[in-house]
Symmetry: C2
Subunit: 603 residues, 2 copies
């Protein structure tokens, strides 16, 4: 085949059966793979009547036409499902080795439906599917499961959940290759609800590349581009993503103590520079990645991958904690228990503020690094207060009477960039189809780093165009699938050429970004069908009304409303944020109009 394997594997856990059917190539062309293909499949499979934790929800694992080809960073894959945390369409995306190996089994997508009667794990060796009893693995942590099931980076790869997923924590991640995560929005809970502990893949089918000479030349060119960019050749390999800590803090956009401030006095102590100096063992990288931003770090207690910038922020600045060793340990625990670090950290921060204000009776306080590890464990096992924490910050804060103290959008905890110091980032969060997320078109490059050009981070008027462009671009890149860091050195339209070389289908300039826009609009339609409305495109009230009292963002709140109006208009949506029939027709989504109309006009 050309890039795609052309086959979908569907597993029914109710019956422990499976079937294979062809990938609709027209659909593949339009939605590419990864996130795009996942969203398109979910549209047909899971409607608004389905509870995310019921057997009727599905897990859709997808790779993309570039996955496993050996193109730089072509290791990533996606899981798509209805989120138990937000109720929106959810795509989570991970690196490592599993995605590449999954591609080599011969499938483009794996759809998991139903619920197994007892704990089960699945083994896929090329076309062969075997169901195994996972009773002995149930309750086991991620590192141990991964080892037991025979993880061997380039040969046999393990994806699994930890106790958090088993216990249906709404912020549970699916882990792969031991420490990589499909983290956000609670896909681990969906997997837990299906009594599915692990999926192990082994494959020997090599993805075919149609124009091999052209592809080879592109590998060469991409290598040059990544070796030339100071970010992909120096900053990321040398300091990892935590290199952002001091930068974001300096501009006054580092949310601190549950977004009460936008600068953290302890930033230096938890920075990439400090990590490198004190805890770094060595770098590592995902399959086929020449960047190598992965850190292997070590404390007295743990050694392993991470922490990433957002993790370090979530357990650090957001919790008022400047103890980097404690953060590294919390990160490691999250990996082992299968928890989303951003949501875990920010939910603890929320509990800290609830406790400090007397709304919640606990000994949690900002700065209490000594409580982090216990808190994370309790969350995974739903012990004591952990039972509330496992639900994420919005359900926690709502239970204790103060939903406004959850720093989330649509229930998903926002990451390490404060909308008051980066106005575009606020619009991004408010309109992100999976809730408060920075991977749906991060404005960091434009608003802070000046990549490729700097726009005023406090600018409101005219900001939406940039947000939309980056949202569409992200959706396309998430569908190839490649790592967004590659995009720091390689332009979007270059990926289109790579895609053409791999698939033999001439993707012209503009086809990629149009596919991204199509995917974004389909995700929007999904959320509209689920009942999301204009009023859900918002931010926590704190960000809209409480301005920081000092630092570079002093006096600024998020000016979301005018940006949002402009955003809808620029998207070609109506004033309620509903894509117009004209826009949908232009994107080849006309067939969805009627159904959405029916849903959104319900009384």
């Amino acid at each position: 085949m050309n890039g795609w394997n052309g086959k979908i594997l569907e597993i029914d856990l109710n019956t422990l059966t499976h079937k294979t059917y062809p990938l609709d190539m027209d659909m593949a062309r339009q939605f590419i793979g990864g996130r795009g293909l996942g969203a398109r499949l979910l549209w047909d499979l899971v409607g608004p009547e389905v509870d995310p934790l019921s057997p009727q929800n599905v897990l859709i694992f997808t790779n993309g036409p570039l996955t496993g080809t050996g193109y730089q960073t072509s290791n990533r894959f996606s899981v798509t499902t209805k989120s138990p945390l937000t109720g929106t369409v959810l795509d989570a995306n991970s690196g490592g080795f599993w995605g590449m190996q999954f591609k080599k089994t011969g499938y483009d997508a794996l759809i998991v439906r139903g619920r197994a009667e007892k704990p089960t794990w699945i083994e896929i060796k090329n076309g062969k599917v075997t169901f195994h009893d996972a009773s002995d693995l149930w309750g086991m942590r991620v590192f141990e499961v991964t080892r037991r099931l025979g993880q061997d980076n380039n040969k046999r790869n393990v994806l699994c959940i930890g106790p958090a997923g088993e216990n249906l924590s709404r912020i549970a991640a699916i882990m792969n290759d031991r420490e990589r995560a499909l983290a956000r929005g609670g896909p681990g809970a969906v997997m837990g609800s299906k009594n599915l502990k692990a999926i192990v893949v082994e494959g020997t089918e090599r993805p075919e590349v149609v124009d091999k000479d052209r592809f080879k030349f592109m590998l060469y060119e991409t290598r040059k581009l990544l070796a030339a960019s100071p970010l992909t050749s120096q900053a990321l390999p040398e300091f990892g993503t935590v290199v952002m800590m001091n930068i974001v803090n300096t501009v006054g956009a580092l949310p601190t103590r549950n977004h009460q401030q936008t600068q953290f006095e302890g930033a230096e102590a938890i920075s990439g520079e400090t990590l490198t100096e004190k805890y770094l063992v060595r770098n590592a990288s995902c399959w086929a990645c020449p960047i190598g931003c992965t850190r292997i770090s070590k404390t007295d207690k743990v050694e392993g991958e991470g922490p990433e910038f957002e993790t370090t922020w979530a357990f650090g600045a957001q919790c008022g904690i400047d103890d980097l060793a404690a953060i590294i340990e919390a990160n490691s625990l999250c990996n082992d228990l299968g928890l989303d670090t951003i949501s875990a950290g920010s939910t603890i921060a929320c509990a800290m503020e609830l406790s400090e204000k007397g709304y919640l009776d606990s000994d949690l306080r900002f700065g209490r690094a000594d409580l982090l590890a216990r808190c994370v464990e309790d969350m995974a096992y739903r012990r004591d207060l952990g039972d509330d924490l496992a639900e994420g910050s919005l359900r926690l804060a709502t239970k204790y009477g103060h939903p406004e103290l959850s720093m989330s959008v649509k229930g998903l905890e926002m990451p390490a960039y404060d909308p008051r110091g980066m106005q575009g980032q606020g619009l991004l969060y408010a309109t992100s189809n999976r809730g408060g997320c920075h991977m749906r078109g991060n404005m960091l490059g434009l608003e802070v780093l000046g990549l490729p050009k700097l726009i005023d981070r406090f600018q409101v008027q005219g900001k939406s165009s940039f947000v939309i462009l980056h949202q569409n671009s992200s959706a396309a890149i998430d569908s190839l699938v490649v790592c967004k860091f590659t995009n720091l050195g390689v332009a979007d339209e270059y990926f289109a050429r790579v895609l053409s070389a791999v698939t033999g289908i001439p993707y012209a300039t503009g086809d990629m970004i149009k596919a991204g826009e199509r995917i974004w609009n389909l995700e929007r339609l999904y959320n509209l069908r689920e009942g999301f409305r204009r009023e859900h495109d918002t931010l926590p009230p704190r960000l809209l009304t409480e301005a920081p009292t000092d630092g570079p963002s002093k006096g600024w709140v998020s000016h979301l409303e005018p940006m949002l109006k402009e955003y809808y208009r620029t998207r070609g949506w109506d004033e309620n944020g509903v894509p117009t029939p004209k826009k949908l027709e232009e994107l080849g989504l006309a067939q969805f109009v009627e159904q959405v109309n029916r849903e959104t006009t319900k009384p």
Copy 2:
């Protein structure tokens, strides 16, 4: 000194005297050099009462803090004056070797005032200024003058005018290093009006770099980046700028026959591919440039630099001519006579349409390649119809009763990108401070090439943000001065780091783009003071009302009005396009508010 030489040379041609005074370092820091410094100096020197061709107008030659340092493409320089073609502030910018040599004479700026009694040329050797009688050079063409005055690329560089400048053609260029041009807006006529034939520079002062190690590292990094980018390492060296011909034609944005169509059936015959195949002798490059986009081409009659894309378009598609040899010869003639090729070609195209429609009695017709050379000569010598052509298309078309047939903005002929197929480009032209120009933030990258990301070229809503960002960025780059092609591989904010290394002044992220915005606003104030108003921010009526009848832009006119409204708002200007006091204060331009208010509220 640090980057800047710290000295301005002022020459008074009335008295053939000169003086030197210090550069205001605060001004330099705010306006950098090149175009920015030129605009700032012009503001003080030339008010609205001054006729551009009177002795009261000045020529301000500026280099920038990077010029001559050896940083990649640090060869460029600027001339600033009040344009005799448009009446606006004018900055024209050129590569080659002269700018670097001028820097080595020890000056940052050369201001030429007054009018010499008889033809004169100036020699500047380091600090020494000599006035020479140019009576024997008057009437002489550019190539011969350049030779006579001892052009020697790296040692002694000649800048001069040809017959067109002497004869006060409003589209006359100033030429340097034989075939490089300060082309647009008629600076050659200003030089001619001063009886100034040439300026020869020789220098031995090496610009100082404050942080040499850092600078050296940046040279290394920039080399890597330019060698990695497919555009700067392959497309431009291999095909030159004419590589754009087929691309722009394919998307239906190649103005054809005086903008009557947007695709040219003869595009292939005048493309970069054809040039390379049939007429290319070799590549060449400006000083310190690793890209080397310069073509040396040869026909039976001429051999020399060029033609560039816009030139090839102007004498080609715009005139309905597909005879590449004739175009190369017309280009060579323009260089030798000292004419702006874009304005020359588009003015001839205008005359062709006037003639075809019977408004003008001449044998000019679209496609008449045989008349090109004669036409260009006549223009330079103001012979017959050439006397009208020398005035540019707007004055020509007005004289013959049809000003609407001039394809110009504020009187400056637009280049090779049709606003009906690139909506943002139309907004760019309409708002450009020197009239219809593509070097004030070309939208080609965003609207056609997808660099760094593709935006819909027909999109109207939300387009202004991108135009503004690129306008500000261009103003900054024009002030360093480096070549905009470098920016295809090197991000703006990287230039800020280079500027910091060279000057020792810490330019933080955002300072560069802010300087660009400051410069743009000052230029706008200048034009407001000259009497330009909202109604001048427009396009030829043809582009607003006549849609192409076929091709990819079929049915599209320029939707300028909504883009313009949005543009003013996003710029922080009032609804009449006047920068608000708040915006000016933010940019450190508060001191100009009162004067502009006074001027713009005159009855």
